[in-house]
């Protein structure tokens, strides 16, 4: 039965040529992740594919992977359903769906991967294909964002590849992730992996591409970008990092852990701070993703610090990823929808659900994720920092309220419109997931019931109440601070543009309208040297004969 795993990557891949041939089938393409749902429950044996590359294995080893597979597939399904109606009249729909399928393949493959190479293949496929999604709209903004995305993605790929090689080397040639988790990692490896995966996960300071790219993509694409794909970075860190016991395995990672915690916390608050300054809804949501990725990085820090049990941490990671993925997906889809139609009251109620879940409102998935996170930090070596997580809840509430308000403002005028049915289904199910999911999923239900004690409720509520007070004050006094200019400053985009200009305009002549000005380049001397060198090789026969004769002399003497 192990071969069933192949269905997951092969179904979308096979759909690509089918779609090229029969473009009309695009209304069913969204069903491509369907095989993942039953397989996540069945969990057949691991599939070993020695013919593919050494050590290639696909399968699910632990509960965390099953959760990730199930909910990633579900998110892709729901977002895909929305995309069907979103791209019904799009002239470039085929292109969109091809990249959609490819990045979905990559995303699912990396979850299934049991060895480094398969993970890398999936990761690369996902990263590079997502470029097609980012630039899909074809506007200047999206092209700019896409360029930055691609530049950083390639840098990330290279670093990640170096990290992968180093890891293979450290593990004596073994490709298996389980083996890597027992192997100590050197500092260069850790740095390569952290930056490589960090560029995908988008925590501070590697987030520069994220607020540009996620809003630029079409609504469904930003939902999966923010909901599913950026998690790949965290999953990668989780899987590649050592976690075994023993002094010599963990001494170095444990010393890195506080730094990660610091970065995670900076990221969490930085995201909120900059997000609050934004004037566009999707950008604010993207910054909220930056902030949330900070919390996920804290989880990795906890893993490395070894003060919490790995199983509990794994479950928490699963909850958090699922919670954030579904909620953020729902919000992005909602924002995309609000740009097209005016939403009705019911829609706003639905939209509020994922928003409050993100802030950690009781009885939602967010409540579980947040309170468990606080508990784990409280139990760990970093207990002193626990208070910051309470403040973080408040900050998140502020940011999502701001985002909701921005979405409200971006609606077109006129009476509320009726939405297409697929959209309603896809988006609605994602919105309802926040309160309903805990009741369907036993593990989550148990954890949710734990938060309902008085102490737990108070822990959840007081930051929210504080937040509510702040919001009320802001609404009441409506201060005009004009901080937007701060938010518009995006060094990443500027540098990316510089890089592009440097790469592209250097060989091409300058504007012909300008008068020629003799410029003495700093490298003119080198250029002359090169010219002289080139001139040396003009008479090919003679030079080659000389080289031959001198070579004979040299090797024979």
């Amino acid at each position: 039965m192990a071969w069933l795993w192949l269905l997951i990557p092969l179904t979308p891949l096979l759909l690509v040529p089918i779609l090229m041939r029969w473009p009309k089938l695009r209304s069913v393409v969204w069903l491509a992740p369907l095989p993942a749902l039953p397989l996540a429950f069945m969990r057949p044996d691991t599939l070993v594919l020695p013919g593919l590359w050494p050590g290639a294995q696909l399968g699910i080893a632990d509960g965390l992977s099953a959760i990730l597979l199930l909910f990633t597939a579900a998110l892709w399904l729901a977002a895909g359903l929305c995309a069907v109606s979103g791209h019904a009249k799009d002239p470039h729909a085929r292109r969109f769906w091809v990249f959609w399928l490819l990045s979905m393949t990559g995303n699912l493959l990396l979850i299934l991967a049991q060895d480094g190479a398969s993970f890398y293949v999936g990761f690369t496929l996902m990263s590079l294909s997502a470029f097609g999604l980012v630039i899909h709209n074809g506007t200047t903004e999206s092209r700019r964002a896409g360029r930055l995305y691609l530049q950083l993605a390639i840098v990330g790929e290279l670093l990640l590849f170096m990290g992968l090689m180093l890891r293979v080397h450290e593990a004596d040639g073994s490709m298996l992730l389980t083996a890597w988790q027992e192997t100590p990692a050197g500092l260069p490896t850790l740095i390569c992996l952290l930056i490589g995966f960090g560029l995908k996960a988008g925590f501070w300071p590697l987030h520069v591409w994220l607020p540009a790219a996620h809003p630029a993509a079409p609504a469904a694409a930003s939902a999966v970008l923010s909901g599913a794909m950026i998690k790949a970075g965290i999953i990668g860190l989780w899987r590649f990092m050592p976690r075994g016991s023993g002094e010599e395995v963990m001494s170095l990672p444990a010393s890195v852990a506080p730094w990660l915690l610091a970065i995670g916390l900076i990221s969490a608050f930085y995201g909120v701070a900059v997000g609050l300054l934004q004037t566009r809804d999707k950008t604010a949501l993207a910054y909220s993703s930056v902030s949330q990725m900070g919390y996920l990085l804290v989880l990795v820090a906890l893993l490395l610090s070894q003060s919490v049990s790995v199983e509990a941490l794994g479950l928490l990671l699963g909850f958090y990823v699922v919670h954030h993925g579904l909620a953020k997906g729902a919000l992005f889809l909602g924002a995309g929808m609000a740009h097209e139609y005016r939403l009705s009251r019911v829609h706003w109620v639905l939209m509020a659900l994922p928003a409050v879940a993100l802030a950690g409102f009781p009885l939602t998935t967010g409540a579980v994720a947040k309170s468990l996170l606080k508990d784990q930090v409280g139990n760990s070596a970093f207990a002193a920092w626990e208070i910051l997580f309470y403040v973080g809840s408040m900050a998140t509430l502020l940011l999502v309220s701001r985002a909701l308000w921005l979405i409200w403002r971006s609606q077109p005028g006129g009476p509320p419109a009726t939405m297409p049915l697929p959209w309603k289904l896809g988006w609605g199910s994602l919105c309802l997931a926040a309160p309903v999911l805990p009741w369907l999923w036993p593990d989550l239900r148990v954890a949710l019931l734990d938060t309902l004690s008085l102490y737990g409720l108070w822990g959840l509520m007081w930051p929210l109440l504080l937040g509510a007070v702040v919001i009320a004050l802001v609404v009441r006094f409506n201060p005009q601070w004009h901080l937007e200019r701060l938010a518009r400053y995006q060094p990443g985009l500027v540098l990316s543009l510089r890089l592009r200009r440097w790469l592209q305009t250097r060989p091409v002549a300058r504007d012909p309208m300008l008068p020629e000005r003799p410029v003495r380049m700093p490298w003119a001397g080198w250029r002359n040297l090169e010219r002289r060198w080139n001139r040396l090789g003009r008479d090919v026969v003679q030079v080659s004969a000389w080289v031959m004769a001198l070579g004979l002399l040299w090797v024979l003497l």
């Binding site: 004769a549 001198l550 004979l552 002399l553 024979l556 003497l557």
Partner: protein, 305 residues
Amino acid sequence: MSLHEWMLDGTLGLLVLILAVAVLHVRSLYISIVLFIAFGLLLALIWARLGAPDLALAEAAIGAGLTGTLLLAAYGRVSERRRKAEEPLDWHAGPALLLSLIIAVILMRAVWPLPDLDSALVPAVADQMAQSGVGHPVTAVLLSFRAWDTLLELLVLLLAFMAVRQLLPSLPRQPEAWPLLQAWSRLLAPLSVLIGGYLLWRGSADPGGAFQAGALLAAGAILLRLTGLLPALGWHHFWIRALILGGCMVFLAIGVAGYWLGTGFLGYADGWAGPLILLIEVFATLSIATTLTLLVIGETREVRE
């Protein structure tokens, strides 16, 4: 070795060296070409001294004769300006000479121990001569033991011809035929056919064979063509094509037939070796003669049509 043999070898060797140096250093291209032809003839003498009459024949016909004709034909086509241009003796003549000398000395070290060694193939050839179907060892090697080399070599010749066909036509410069030459060639051409046929026939037992015969036939044809006694040999004639390709085709077909019949690729069935080799040689001779003729004097237009 007696003194007069030494004298002979020494003189020949010295002469060859001096000629070679002169060929490279003389100023006029024309004289250089003429000296090179003389160099080739001298080489033929040396081959004869070294007990290689086959090679002496081949060198005289191919090395000196045809190469010389080719060089002169090329000389006829280059422009006046190019002919007059002399090789300047520039700065790197000195270092080049020094370098070549050092390399020659190194190579002498390499050849020093060789005269005392011997080859494993000489007794092997002697052993197998009886089965080869021919009486002359060189022919046996060429058409039996290393027939694949020979087949490929026919292909090389064909390919050279094909390659020349690709070139765009160059300006033809055909001088008027010289009356005396015309008269002589009427006499020489049949003679060359006769001698060629004889060489081919003798090739199975004595020095001589397809290449020498082919070269001689070609020489006759070239003479006739130059004097205008032979019509143009265009590629568009089916028979010309068949002649040129016949050698390779017959050779290949016999080789494959041998594999088919179980005597190995390019092997001959018992008792059939002699006739088959003769057959191959006849076709190869015709093929070589036609190809060389067209290569040497065929105007590009004739070759291309």
